[in-house]
């Protein structure tokens, strides 16, 4: 199914958490809109992400058995939201779905999806250490790629590169 069919199926089934769609659009000089190219995304409420993913996995028409990716993105330092992006793949129906959640930086907490897909565990660990997002209910919230005592959240746009670590200069 193409994206519009998937989106219609989701809204007809009244899936919990579905908010809106982000579709590509051409640039518009009159409204000074630079447009949006690329692929479409479904916007989902972060508090209901686990239910949404459960529906996507268990529904017959959608059948998204494979979780490809969970990541986060900090669009810019002034923006008040952090984006959480989920990518799903359906092997039986050969289709993909991109999901976006907007998480306010002042309340960076959302439920974990590890109960739905086991693959989410490591992806969420990486988000936690790189962006400081708190996934509630995650079974193993250790640092994944960074050393255990690394200060700060490196992938945020307002991150300052450290000057030294354990006595060795970082310059």
């Amino acid at each position: 199914m193409d994206f519009q069919a998937i989106a219609d199926h989701l809204s007809v089934a009244k899936v919990p958490g579905l908010l809106s769609l982000e579709l590509p659009r051409p640039a518009d000089k009159e409204t000074k809109d630079k447009g949006r190219s690329g692929l479409p995304y479904v916007c989902v409420d972060p508090a209901r992400i686990a239910d949404f993913l459960t529906f996507c996995r268990d529904d017959d028409a959608l059948g998204f058995e494979v979780l490809i990716d969970i990541t986060a993105s900090d669009p810019n330092a002034e923006d008040e939201n952090l984006w959480i992006l989920v990518q799903l793949l359906s092997v039986q129906h050969r289709q993909r779905l991109g999901i976006k959640c907007l998480l306010p930086k002042s309340a960076l907490s959302m439920p974990s999806s590890t109960s739905v897909y086991r693959a989410a565990q490591w992806h969420e660990r990486e988000c936690m250490e790189m962006y400081g997002v708190n996934f509630e209910g995650h079974p193993d919230p250790r640092n994944m790629l960074l050393p255990d005592d690394w200060p700060g959240y490196p992938m945020r746009k307002d991150y300052e590169f450290p000057k030294e670590y354990h006595g060795i200069s970082c310059e």
Binding site: D69, S73, P147
Partner: protein, 406 residues
């Protein structure tokens, strides 16, 4: 309790008449020893961990009761770099995550950028050369997987044979782009430069020679009785487990799931190649043991090497003279938007998520690395196996730590 080397050690053995007689006729002796599980560190410097990975093993004698991979020893901040350098300047960094299949990494990134630039046209010759290079790189990568897997198991010979063919492929790549390992050849809009005269003929010669050699390597290692005993019925991943862990690539196909991004969600001209019968997708069938064991995965990789030759030959027939790169400006400014494009890397699905706000520099460059996802399966696969099997299991996942840590 004292150790046997100390002077006042009294071993506690039950008297002989209390010992049982086993069905084989032997007498059973008991020594009251208290044991506890041993925690051993495997890595980060270890000949069999395929790079710098640390696995904390908890073992009860030879039996592994727990395994915890620790990563981050090669974390090179590729995603942060992606937010600070220009679009084309990021291309050499893409080579370096999965350094064994650098062409495929370049391809994944270029396709993702091109998904954001829909008016950019890539000429057909560029696409076909991209496919030839990607498939040759797949062969080279699987050769390393085959050679080093033999090395882990204890077979030294396949390593030298694998590297012999790999040197030829690297010489071919050196002729076309000047580098042996990290090419930065597949660029946004096509490929960097055209193939020198005689290159296509040499690729064709390579295909003919490799086909004979392939059969030798298959009989040397994959059909070898010792190799089969070491890898069959070891590390079995069922299809449900594969889905749950998000596995892709040979890990998924080894468990019997018929899914290959080149055939089922085709990009470039793989769809036409498959329709013309150029390649098939091998699956794990449980021939020597259970479906989804280490032997199946290794066999899938070996047969994939042969199928790559079919794709290369199809491209060589189809190729015609023409330009190799589209009309790309010197400083690329990608229109605002976001896209995720995933391609079939030798290890699984390598995807790039790119977010652009219209400038020269990406706002977010996320790399979905297959080895990172494939590695998570070790936590559930290794407990319950013997220590020697853990090496076989790690080798069969075919991870590259540059990709795991990015």
């Amino acid at each position: 309790m004292t150790s046997p080397t100390q002077k006042d050690h009294k071993p506690s053995i039950r008297p002989a008449d209390e010992a049982r007689v086993l069905p084989s006729g032997e007498r059973e002796f008991f020594m009251d020893v208290a044991t506890s599980d041993l925690e051993i560190n495997m890595g980060p410097q270890h000949p069999a961990t395929h790079g710098v990975m640390r696995v904390l093993l908890r073992t009860d004698g030879e039996l592994v009761t727990g395994a915890q991979p620790h990563l981050g020893y090669l974390h090179r901040c590729a995603e942060k770099i992606g937010e600070n350098v220009e679009w084309l300047q990021y291309l050499p960094y893409t080579d370096r995550y999965d350094y064994l299949s650098a062409m495929n990494n370049n391809l994944s990134y270029s396709l993702a950028v091109e998904a954001l630039m829909p008016e950019l046209e890539i000429p057909r010759r560029g696409t076909l050369i991209r496919m030839i290079c990607a498939e040759l790189n797949r062969i080279a990568s699987h050769l390393v997987a085959f050679g080093t897997y033999g090395l882990d198991i204890g077979a030294f010979t396949p390593f030298f044979y694998a590297f012999r063919e790999r040197e030829w492929i690297q010489a071919l790549f050196e002729k076309i782009c000047g580098a042996r390992l990290t090419y930065s050849y597949i660029r946004i809009g096509g490929v960097f430069n055209d193939a020198p005269p005689g290159w296509l003929q040499e690729v064709s010669d390579f295909c003919d020679v490799f086909e004979e050699k392939w059969q030798e390597y298959y009989d040397l290692l994959i059909e070898n009785h010792i190799f089969v005993q070491r890898t069959a019925n070891v590390g079995v991943i069922s299809a449900e487990m594969a889905y749950d862990f998000g596995l892709t690539g040979p890990m998924l196909r080894g468990s019997g799931v018929d899914f290959d991004l080149r055939r089922d969600m085709p990009y470039m001209e793989y769809g036409e190649a498959h329709a013309a019968g150029a390649f098939n997708v091998p699956l794990g069938t449980g021939e020597k043991g259970t479906v989804g064991d280490c032997w199946d995965r290794t066999q899938v990789r070996m047969v994939e090497m042969k199928e790559c030759l079919g794709i290369v030959r199809w491209c060589l027939e189809q190729i015609e003279p023409g330009p190799v790169i589209g009309d790309v400006p010197k400083v690329i400014k990608v229109p605002p938007g976001e896209a995720y494009v995933g391609i079939e890397n030798p290890r699984g699905e390598l995807g790039h998520y790119l977010h652009s706000d219209g400038g020269k520099v990406a706002t977010r460059c996320r790399v979905r690395a297959p080895s990172f996802v494939n590695l998570a399966v070790l936590e559930d696969l290794m407990p319950g196996t013997l220590l020697a099997d853990s090496v076989a299991i790690i080798g069969s996942t075919d991870i590259v730590i540059g990709e795991t840590d990015r």
